[in-house]
């Protein structure tokens, strides 16, 4: 356990710097984009010079960029994410409202792509070069090449419009008054299509990685030894070949979590899921800098935590990794 704790401490110190770079970088990027929150707002309302000046003053946009960044960082130091310009509400509340939806979507999609992807990868990798191997490899590659929004639209047209098995979007039925298990079932029904759209695309990655890893392991001497011992093929595939090919997949899982956040922007829009990705897109369009910073921060923390968990899992899965880290 101390191994894990040491790792944790080292990681946390590094994370603070990562977060600082992320915040300042995002702030500067958005500062460089032409137009501010007031420009974005008056695009939909119009207004005269007096009103525009009043708004800039009220939203603190008449101050210099440096002052605003300093104010933001100072508030952040006190764990205050500030006030959203677009929502006129505390950013913490806005994000907390959306975060569970994104976590649910991302978590389920990751579970789907990792679970199904590695299972199919094992199935394909058990007999490299066989017909089923080729079929799965090509099929998954085709799926990987499909753009996420297009897959989403096709799923909507087939399963929501034509067959009407699932709702076209949203996170749950509107003002249905459902509670407890009923509500959970309702949410699950709404999530099936978006999770499939998001999960199927990344499935190919895990499938191919697992398969490639396994075909490598097949050539190792210990596999030959296992055959020589007279173990069943099934046991060799699962306990020896697949297990050794699993490690890179766990690494991939950590890396993929960041990508998944990006991919969910598109899927959340297509399926009208009120999540963080859509919120980020709206924040950029509205030039709501504090809101976007808040979302990026939360996402960065999320990615850091997931990667930390992956590292810890690694340390347990492969004793050699943890030993070198802890000893360093």
């Amino acid at each position: 356990m101390t191994r894990a704790l040491l790792l944790l401490r080292r990681r946390l110190v590094g994370s603070v710097f990562v977060l600082l770079i992320v915040v300042v970088g995002t702030f500067l990027l958005l500062e460089a984009a032409p137009g501010d929150a007031v420009d974005a707002y008056i695009a939909s309302t119009g207004g005269d010079a007096g009103m525009i000046e009043l708004l800039r003053h009220r939203w603190g946009l008449d101050q210099s960029a440096l002052t605003r960044l300093a104010t933001y960082l100072w508030a952040l130091l006190h764990l205050d994410l500030g006030q959203s310009v677009t929502f006129s509400r505390p950013i913490r509340d806005v994000i907390l409202e959306r975060l569970p939806n994104t976590l649910l979507l991302m978590g389920s999609a990751t579970a789907l792509s990792f679970g199904l992807g590695s299972a199919l990868g094992i199935y394909a990798g058990a007999r490299p070069g066989s017909f089923r191997d080729r079929l799965l490899s090509i099929g998954s590659l085709a799926l990987y090449a499909v753009p996420g929004f297009w897959l989403g639209l096709v799923l909507i047209i087939v399963f929501a419009v034509d067959l009407r098995w699932f709702p076209i979007g949203g996170i749950e039925s509107i003002a249905s008054g459902k509670t407890g298990l009923d509500r959970a079932a309702d949410i699950a029904r709404h999530l099936i299509l978006p999770v499939s759209a998001l999960g199927f695309i990344y499935l190919a990655l895990y499938l191919r990685m697992m398969r490639a890893g396994m075909s490598e392991v097949w050539r190792q001497d210990f596999v030959l030894a296992a055959f020589a011992k007279g173990l069943s093929r099934r046991r060799i595939v699962l306990a020896h070949v697949a297990r050794n090919a699993l490690l890179p997949l766990v690494t991939m899982l950590g890396l993929q979590s960041a990508q998944m956040l990006g991919g969910s922007v598109v899927i959340e829009s297509v399926f009208s899921v009120p999540g963080l990705g859509r919120l980020a897109q709206e924040a950029v369009a509205a030039r709501d800098t504090p809101l976007l910073l808040g979302i990026i921060l939360v996402s960065a923390v999320l990615v850091i935590v997931i990667n930390l968990l992956v590292d810890i899992a690694y340390a347990f899965l492969d004793p050699r990794v943890g030993a070198s880290e802890a000893g360093a």
Binding site: G35, D39, S44, G47, A49, I156, S272, R278
Partner: protein, 536 residues
């Protein structure tokens, strides 16, 4: 629909045909309204402020007009094109210094308190005049509102103000909010701005950010037996294709403000149970306009502007960009306006040879590469159609030897580039005609407007004659004389081309045929829906 504000009045040949083919079968059928039911409507944006007294825009009205009512609403057949709402009558004094409103009796706010003239006085003086995006112009000379009794409000103006203008402004600019809720604290920070309290047929129930708004029936509404619906839900559907899918899947019953893209209309009009309707937006006309930066020396030359006007095939634009759901424009007032429009203006027929000749005459001959000069062209990003017209205009200009470089921006960047930085030569904009040229039309050509004001003359155009004409019209009280001045205004604008009006368009609704009393006034989508009902 975009949160951005717009308008148009003609039902065009193409769309009228379409209307006839899809809507006629249901006319004359099931005319007794039923009570009850939940109407689910597509919404594409969530306005940051839902108070229509502060933000007079269609994005806000779409939701809040059911909750907060105005003094009067636009009407197809009412006197002066108006239907009474919170006011039952209105009368302007001959000297233009006062307007008297008689208010409706027995109206209650959603919290049970009575509605009185004090609420009207408060809304006008504390909100419309100082805070409202449009009211700041129209009510700028409003000095006081006298309330001799609970049901009379007398607006007093410091300078003579045309009653015609006030009347034309009523449907969009006169949302009345309760004094007792807004009188304490900062009006713009009031929580009621996001959970409005009004007198309307529906009460604000809840808003789940990113998901929906829910309005519920106001049982104490003043309209007899109204409203019919129990509930209205605005389902937030950010993706444009999802509104069409949701209609087909019967998850929503109405997509207004062209939420279904024009290209999908042909297909969706064939889905059984769905109707495509162009009616009900007559008072919400958007104008497709080429904004011109007169600081560019080439564009300051009238011949060049005339050449550009001749290079644009307006019929082609209506047919191809708007798929027929628009009308060609002749000047700054749309054809469908019943009060001010005149055909007596200079016109510019599509004539490439003439355009080339004009440019030669102006001294901009073609170089070796066939180009006369280059321009920066910025199409506004708010509508597909403004972007597509940008692509068309680039090609049209190429035909006359003008090399236009397209610059595509998002809303915030476009507003900044055009209206603050003036970093454009030509821009494509969609200004709104709001029933009276003084509300948001003359500002497009008038000089002396500070930098940064959106949807105004930021092209550096200055024409003293035109400025004088606009000033004179703003203080002319006699409606007939005032109308004449605006006809003169149209003629001058079309002659001198401070900007080029290309087309006029409005919106399309796609709706289930189970919804009754649809599109029965010229601002239907942003009216109160008290008489809308659902076939069970």
């Amino acid at each position: 629909m975009s949160d951005f504000t717009i308008s148009r009045r003609s039902v065009l040949a193409g769309s009228a045909l379409l209307l006839a083919s899809t809507a006629l079968p249901t006319i004359g059928w099931a005319q007794t309204p039923k009570k009850g039911g939940r109407l689910v409507v597509a919404a594409d944006s969530e306005p940051r402020n839902l108070n229509p007294a502060i933000v007079a825009s269609n994005g806000v009205f779409f939701i809040s007009s059911k909750i907060v009512e105005t003094l009067a609403e636009a009407s197809f057949d009412g006197k002066d094109g108006l239907d009474p709402r919170l006011a039952t009558s209105w009368e302007g004094a001959a000297d233009g210094l006062s307007v008297t409103f008689k208010l409706r009796e027995g109206v209650k706010w959603h919290d049970g308190k009575p509605f009185t003239s004090a609420d009207v006085a408060f809304s006008a003086l504390q909100i419309w005049k100082p805070l409202q995006n449009l009211g700041r112009t129209v009510f700028k000379d409003l000095e006081a509102v006298d309330t001799p009794d609970e049901l009379t409000a007398v607006f007093k103006f410091a300078r003579p103000t045309p009653f015609q203008l006030i009347r034309n402004a009523l449907p969009a600019l006169s949302s009345v909010v309760p004094k007792h809720i807004y009188e304490t604290g900062n009006i713009e920070e009031n929580p009621a701005n996001n959970a409005p309290v009004g007198t309307g047929p529906f009460k604000f129930a809840e808003h789940k950010s990113g998901e929906y708004y829910r309005l519920e029936r106001n049982a104490d509404y003043w309209g007899k037996d109204q409203p019919y619906l129990d509930e209205i839900i605005y389902q937030v559907l950010p993706d444009r294709t999802s509104a069409a899918s949701a209609l087909e899947a019967e998850e929503i019953q109405l997509a207004a403000f062209s939420a279904v893209p024009l290209a999908d209309l042909d297909r969706i009009s064939k889905v059984p149970g769905l109707k495509v309707i162009t009616k009900g937006y007559e008072a919400l006309t958007y104008q497709l306009v080429v904004e011109i930066n007169h600081r560019r020396k080439e564009l300051a030359d009238l011949k060049v502007r005339q050449a550009i006007a001749h290079a644009i095939d307006k019929d082609f634009v209506v047919r191809t960009v708007f798929l027929g759901y628009a009308a060609t424009a002749t000047g700054p007032v749309p054809k469908n306006d019943p009060q001010f429009y005149t055909t007596d203006v200079p016109t510019y027929a599509f004539d490439v040879a003439k355009a080339n000749a004009l440019l030669d005459e102006a001294g901009y001959s073609r170089g070796d590469d066939g180009k006369r000069f280059s321009l920066k062209l910025l199409p506004a990003p708010y509508f597909n159609e403004t972007k597509q017209f940008g692509d068309y205009l680039r090609q049209a200009l190429a035909a006359i030897g003008i090399d236009a470089q397209l610059v595509n921006n998002d809303s915030a960047a476009h507003i900044k580039a055009v209206y603050t930085d003036h970093a454009f030569d030509l821009a494509v904009g969609p200004p709104v005609f709001r029933g009276d040229p003084a509300i948001s039309t003359t500002i497009l050509v008038q000089s002396g407007i500070p930098d940064g004001v959106p949807f105004s003359n930021q092209g550096g155009y200055k024409n003293d004659e035109l400025d004088a004409l606009i000033a004179k019209a703003s203080e002319t009280l006699d409606p007939a004389a005032r109308t004449e001045l605006y006809k003169e205004f149209q003629k001058k604008v079309a002659a001198d081309l401070p900007l080029i009006n290309v087309a006029e368009w409005s919106f399309i609704s796609v709706i289930r045929d189970t919804v009754g009393n649809v599109a029965n006034n010229p601002r239907w989508a942003v009216s109160n829906w008290a008489d809308t009902w659902l076939e069970a």
